[in-house]
Symmetry: C3
Subunit: 194 residues, 3 copies
């Protein structure tokens, strides 16, 4: 399977777009898999006996987290290799805004294992992202709380994605998630992989 990495900051509508991607690929009878990188890391951590639940993940020492990132990347790359034809999309971040700064979501030791064809940057107008965050009260997203910060995060995601792409020769594709119709972005993502 060809691998595409779909990144986007919280509130950009990544989950919705990727559901649409799956729907379209199923309709077209194209073999596909959507993998959430964070979930895959958790699953790997539980398998290895490092944690019993998601809350314990944050408490792991830095070196153990790094090891998990690598194991998860290897696992996904392996699924793609053994999955035959088709498309595998990884749902993750180009950067994560933390109290210690912008953390790259695709550092060297991860991107080199995954070796994707395309790194997608799902973007939207900061105003639109802010609105979506406000409506979605189920998740706490206080780290991305004003337009200037969202704009800065989108920019750092671009720098980080390009730096990761340079390591493996992948392309970086900006996809705008227009308000109201996730199928526009979904189709663009699919077409960029074919």
């Amino acid at each position: 399977m060809k691998i595409g990495i779909v990144t986007g900051i919280p509130g950009v509508g990544k989950t919705t777009v990727l559901s649409k991607v799956k729907e379209i690929l199923e309709e077209k009878k194209i073999n596909n898999r959507i993998v959430n990188y964070g979930d895959y890391m958790l699953m790997t951590a539980m398998k290895l006996g490092y944690v019993n639940n998601r809350d314990e993940m944050r408490k792991l020492p830095v070196e153990k987290q790094k090891q998990l990132q690598i194991e998860a990347a290897k696992g996904i790359a392996n699924e793609a290799k053994e999955g035959g034809d088709g498309l595998l999309f990884i749902d993750t971040h180009a950067v994560i805004r933390t109290p210690s700064g912008y953390l790259p979501g695709l550092p060297k030791y991860v991107i080199e294992e995954i070796n994707p064809r395309v790194i997608f940057l799902l973007e939207a107008d900061p105003k639109v992202i802010l609105d979506r965050q406000r409506r979605d009260t189920s998740r706490s997203r206080t780290d991305y709380s004003d337009e200037k910060i969202i704009f800065e995060t989108i920019n750092f995601a671009r720098y980080a994605a390009m730096a990761s792409a340079v390591l493996v020769g992948a392309t970086v594709k900006i996809i705008i998630n227009v308000e109201g119709d996730p199928s526009v972005a979904a189709n663009e993502i699919i077409n960029s992989m074919l």
Copy 2:
């Protein structure tokens, strides 16, 4: 020979500036070579029997293209090594805008072989680039068709060039190609290498 990589998006006037660079260096009796990376890859591919002409290049599988990129980079680095004193300039791109996104022109496996002194970003006002593209009807350049896209491409070229430079410790130098006199840019390029 010291190696400088000269990058710039289509329409910025790269070919003209590099002809001027050659002219000035010849006048000054400085040993020099200008290598077009794409042409060099094609020549390498033909030598290895992969293709018979330029059109067949695009149809090569991704892995074969990558191998050719590396072989070409090694070949050019070798020419510089055996070329004695002087300056060797490589004519290429920092990023290429493709339907699948921004493709880095100097990925890790290329930049590490070339190990250049300077990566030049030849830039111009997006309006000027657009005008030049319109006048030059001999080439199809539909991928860079409005000012916003040209501006975005110039920015991604900066991110990509800096990411490549970090891998080898090269400098990244912005050169503005002013309208009407390519010798200004040419002289700046030469002076940055001495």
Copy 3:
């Protein structure tokens, strides 16, 4: 010791902020060390017998300078390793503006030796930086002489820092040095490391 790299362009107030960092950590009785990377390189060069004084550093061939960068990085990493608990900060640059272009201060062979937790970008309004440079007549800082250039340098520092961070999985944290109170920036730096 956990390592943080503090970068910032000339005139941003890096030295003052780092003195404040030291003062606060001493007060809190937290084990700490502040290392100036340039000074450490000079010391390394003198130890190895490459130079007798700072002026001779610039005249070293590129390959020797690179070797010194690596030796210095290893030395600092070793000090951190043997220094027990606490915080070690390195005072350096993300990019240096030279006549040959933007030189990355944290290239691959340096950042991989240091393997820091956080890369700090100390920033300030270009106007404020320009004012500080004008007042400080003791140092020649003609390379950063107008607002547009300062703005461009700050941006390239961001691209370079993120590219370095991607190589080792460090975070990149922007710290604004507000005029008149370096303790604001100093406390932010310390808190980002804990």
